[in-house]
């Protein structure tokens, strides 16, 4: 498995097919995590690394392709995607170099094994009443960290919005519709299949969301899966239809609401007389309170992640699509 991973690592520079290989790489590393008995990480890697990232990269690629269009080598503009890749791989090499200084793998003397981990593993079950250690660590002991992560994602969404902006309603509208009807006939299979699949994916996302305490999963993964369902919808039925279901404005509000749910839970704890994000005070029984707190927090994370991911996708693909359509519009 490791050999294969290394292989894909080496060949990653090869072609435009980089993205697919990247997806492969994610799958492989997820499998690797799984064999290390870390299903939470594997799930995250699977959903984010193998799912969202390639799709977003495709969107980006469509963008970069458009940008390098005016250049003389328009046809081979795909190669321009290679330069950032080289930079990234150099960074990767630097990172690998940095890891040489880290303690050896599974070294029992490594600091991480001596400090907080034993406590997490031994006592988290009793202290928080939650079977899944990872979730209890993330949402309870490390509540602040996770809050920070939620904010980072929020900030990322904002950044992309600020840079690229949502589709300003221009002349593109009628072209979309034209495209959608053109696709409608040829994608019959896809339509019917995804019609059944989408509810299942949505439900699955919610399942992952609410079972964060029992099985691998939680807000991040659930948010991504949820977003993926919508992305499938957008892919099959066209962006315009997806906008109708989940308008960008709603998404923007959802982003804010998600972060607010998280922060609000903390504030609620403050009001009820505890520390910030100390869930114990949310109920008469500390454990019960922990439960409620974690569910709320996960919900906040899930909503944030889902809306940010959808925003990213919509923004990227919207830009790409618009640019293409504009060009076609100019020609016809």
């Amino acid at each position: 498995m490791l050999v294969a991973t290394a292989l894909s690592c080496i060949f990653v520079r090869d072609l435009f097919a980089v993205i697919m290989v990247f997806g492969l790489y994610s799958l492989l590393s997820a499998g690797f995590f799984l064999s290390l008995k870390a299903p939470d990480v594997a799930l995250t890697e699977a959903s984010i690394g193998a799912g969202i990232a390639p799709i977003l990269m495709l969107g980006t690629l469509a963008l970069t392709r458009k940008r390098s269009e005016p250049q003389p080598r328009a046809k081979k503009s795909l190669r321009s995607a290679l330069l950032p890749l080289v930079v990234v791989s150099l960074t990767g090499v630097a990172l690998i170099y940095a890891t040489l200084d880290m303690p050896y793998f599974a070294d029992p003397a490594a600091p991480i094994h001596n400090h907080v981990v034993p406590r997490y593993i031994e006592q988290s079950g009793q202290e928080t009443g939650i079977p899944n250690i990872v979730t209890s660590i993330l949402a309870s002991y490390r509540g602040y960290d996770t809050l920070g992560e939620a904010f980072v994602i929020f900030a990322a969404g904002l950044g992309v919005l600020a840079l690229l902006g949502f589709l300003s309603d221009g002349s593109g509208r009628e072209y979309w519709q034209f495209e959608d009807t053109a696709n409608l006939r040829h994608h019959a299979v896809l339509h019917v299949i995804s019609k059944i699949l989408i509810p299942l994916i949505l439900l699955y996302a919610l399942y992952v969301q609410f079972h964060g305490e029992y099985s691998p999963g939680g807000g991040f993964q659930a948010g991504v899966i949820f977003a993926v369902a919508f992305i499938l919808y957008a892919l099959v039925y066209g962006l315009e239809a997806a906008y109708k279901i989940m308008s960008p404005v709603v998404l923007r509000y959802m982003m804010v609401i998600g972060v607010l749910i998280y922060g609000g839970t903390g504030v609620l704890c403050l009001i009820l007389g505890g520390h910030y994000l100390e869930y114990g005070v949310l109920s008469d029984y500390p454990k019960h309170g922990q439960h409620i707190g974690i569910i709320l927090v996960e919900l906040g994370v899930g909503v944030t992640v889902a809306s940010v991911m959808m925003t990213l996708f919509f923004t990227f693909s919207g830009r790409a699509k618009r640019s293409v359509l504009k060009k076609q519009g100019v020609e016809t």
């Binding site: 498995m1 294969a4 292989l7 894909s8 060949f11 090869d14 097919a17 993205i19 697919m20 290989v21 997806g23 492969l24 799958l27 492989l28 997820a30 499998g31 799984l34 064999s35 008995k37 299903p39 594997a42 799930l43 699977a46 959903s47 193998a50 799912g51 390639p54 799709i55 495709l58 690629l61 469509a62 392709r65 328009a74 046809k75 896809l190 699949l197 994916i201 699955y204 992952v208 029992y214 099985s215 691998p216 999963g217 993964q221 899966i225 993926v228 992305i231 499938l232 892919l235 099959v236 699509k321 293409v324 060009k327 076609q328 020609e331």
Partner: protein, 91 residues
């Protein structure tokens, strides 16, 4: 015996990987990647039974869905890109 299952699936994965790198055409690569993904799912299923942990199957289910959707995304992208090329040629 689980070893046999794991080994055979890994062989398939390896072959698919080689196909993905060597594949003459774009679609061969996508096909190989798809196959690789499905085999990963199988591998995860085997691992979960081997470890006796039903929760691993969640990961497998996510793989199936994600794999499917990324294939759809990639194909839609190329369909789309092709239209762009066509437009370019038409000019």
């Amino acid at each position: 015996m689980f070893l046999a299952a794991t080994l055979s699936i890994m062989t398939v994965m390896l072959l698919a990987l080689i196909r993905a790198f060597a594949g003459p055409g774009l679609f061969d690569r996508i096909l190989a990647v798809n196959m690789f993904g499905t085999k990963t799912v199988l591998l995860v299923a085997v691992l979960s039974v081997l470890g006796g942990q039903p929760t691993f199957i969640d990961v497998a289910v996510v793989y199936v869905l994600i794999n499917f959707i990324s294939i759809v995304a990639v194909l839609r992208f190329f369909e789309f890109g092709r239209r762009e090329d066509e437009a370019e040629e038409g000019r």
